[in-house]
Symmetry: C2
């Protein structure tokens, strides 16, 4: 089943304790799309400036990602983010953000995308996410990501959005901020009580937690010794998860759990190099292989 | 198989964001013994002062813990620790430490304990742990805990101890400190290369990681919404783990993995109340029930 994603497309500059890359391909919708493309056809909606290298679009198209929703704004610049990872490679500092074209992003979905059934609202304001939702009347599964920024400055809009979502994916610190509860198990269920049928809390190197009315579980991150650049880990996690759900065409509890495992595994590849460098090297069989390894790891 | 443990016995004063307890039963060997007693007969070696309430000894004896190695020093005081948990209930601050009798602790094992095959060296200096090891010539499985303090002030002694151990259990921050490596997967294997056949890194609310020559895996913590007091979580984890190994009488890879799961589950009960209050309420069947729930949680 085709999977629609709307979110940021960026040129990232990333510093780690040992290396640095400037203006590499990034953005939530890019990481998400690329990860999801191993599972299902992806429809990408986003905006870039005229500085956007055409080769990036080609890279996405090479993985059958439908880029017809990619808007190029003449005379403007692509969203840019610069960040620096602390030695633990889990925490990071944002050094610069230039919203550029993303600041005025008002997505108009191509006609062919409006009938999408599976939808992911990647990084963007709740207002923007809501506007997208309004354009996809037949959506069966709507999942969104959010950020501390929106919890702080668009709190009411976020609460309104939550009531319309099937699922939400957010970081541990964001779940704590949104619920004012330090215990993640309670926080997860409190977010769920705000509307969505399920909540996924991402804990970075510590994995992810899942909450529905009937289930609470934790999945650890796949333990990789090669953490080169964690940028996009959360988005590729969501991409693997949503991609698998769209591939299956359902989101029953069992499928959701396997989807979380796929997300975990895809994210573990993503962090092994800068930008999409590692993801470009793998195919579905390597993902499936690592999934089986992960399954064995959790079997006792 | 009987399991011998040597370590601290304490009267703890604990502050959490919402509650406070003074002079409650604590100490690494106490938490460890109590947890292990659900699986196997435990032999406890430790020292207390004359302020030690006899009811604490009775509580341990009620669980068939052999307290004949419990030394009571007249005219002296029991080891005291006072700590305060931060709102996240995972990090804590030590407010006061009075070593008292534990400062001069020089354990002499009762004759009947010297033939023990399964041995855990709970909190104590590497020098002290080594002296215990010397008294247990027939040990088949020697596992120790350590602390940042010893990594800093008895580094060489700790390295010498590591070469004589089968297994070591330590915190994530301690593994990073000992190896000067921020990546826990690499750090775990580096500790293993220092001597022990296996290494367990405890990550508090984020679970535990296991490392042997052939295996690397992570087990998440059991997600409990009722974290009242995390004191002793690591020791009860080790107690559940070692208790199960002693019960099985082997430590092959498969048994070790189940042992880690038992440790995880036992620790999840321990944190649900102060001191041993929650542990006192449970029996083995509740532990087994939660173990099955944990197994289901990790199955996809």
């Amino acid at each position: 089943m085709p999977l629609l994603v709307v979110g940021s497309i960026a040129l990232d500059s990333v510093e780690t304790p040992t290396e640095r890359r400037d203006d590499v391909l990034g953005g939530s919708a890019v990481y998400f799309s690329y990860a999801a493309s191993y599972f299902t056809p992806v429809r990408l909606v986003g905006v870039v400036g005229e500085d956007w290298p055409a080769e990036h679009t080609e890279l996405l198209m090479d993985r059958r990602i439908d880029t017809s929703g990619l808007e190029v704004v003449a005379g403007a610049k692509t969203f840019r983010w610069r960040g620096k990872y602390l030695p633990n490679m889990n925490d990071r500092e944002t050094l610069e953000v230039h919203l550029n074209v993303f600041g005025d992003f008002n997505p108009k979905l191509p006609e062919a995308f409006r009938g999408s059934r599976y939808l992911f609202l990647a990084n963007g304001s709740p207002l923007l996410q809501m506007r997208v939702l309004d354009q996809v009347p037949d959506a069966q599964l709507c999942v969104a990501d959010t950020m501390d920024l929106w919890i702080n400055i668009q709190h009411d809009e976020l609460l309104a959005l939550l009531r319309r979502l099937d699922g939400i994916v957010l970081n541990d610190s964001e779940a704590r901020l949104l619920t004012d509860d330090e215990n993640l198990v309670r926080a997860g269920h409190r977010v769920r009580e705000m509307g969505p049928k399920f909540v996924v809390i991402k804990k970075g190197e510590h994995g992810a937690m899942f909450f529905s009315r009937d289930e609470t579980y934790v999945m650890p991150a796949y333990p990789t010794p090669h953490v080169v650049d964690p940028t996009g880990a959360g988005d590729s996690f969501a991409g693997g998860m949503m991609g698998y759900l769209a591939e299956c065409g359902n989101f029953d509890p069992r499928t959701l759990k396997t989807a979380l495992a796929y997300g975990t595994v895809v994210a573990s590849f993503n962090v092994e190099a800068f930008s999409l460098e590692r993801m470009r090297q793998i195919d579905r069989s390597e993902i499936d292989e690592r999934l089986e390894e992960y399954r064995r790891m959790l079997t006792f």
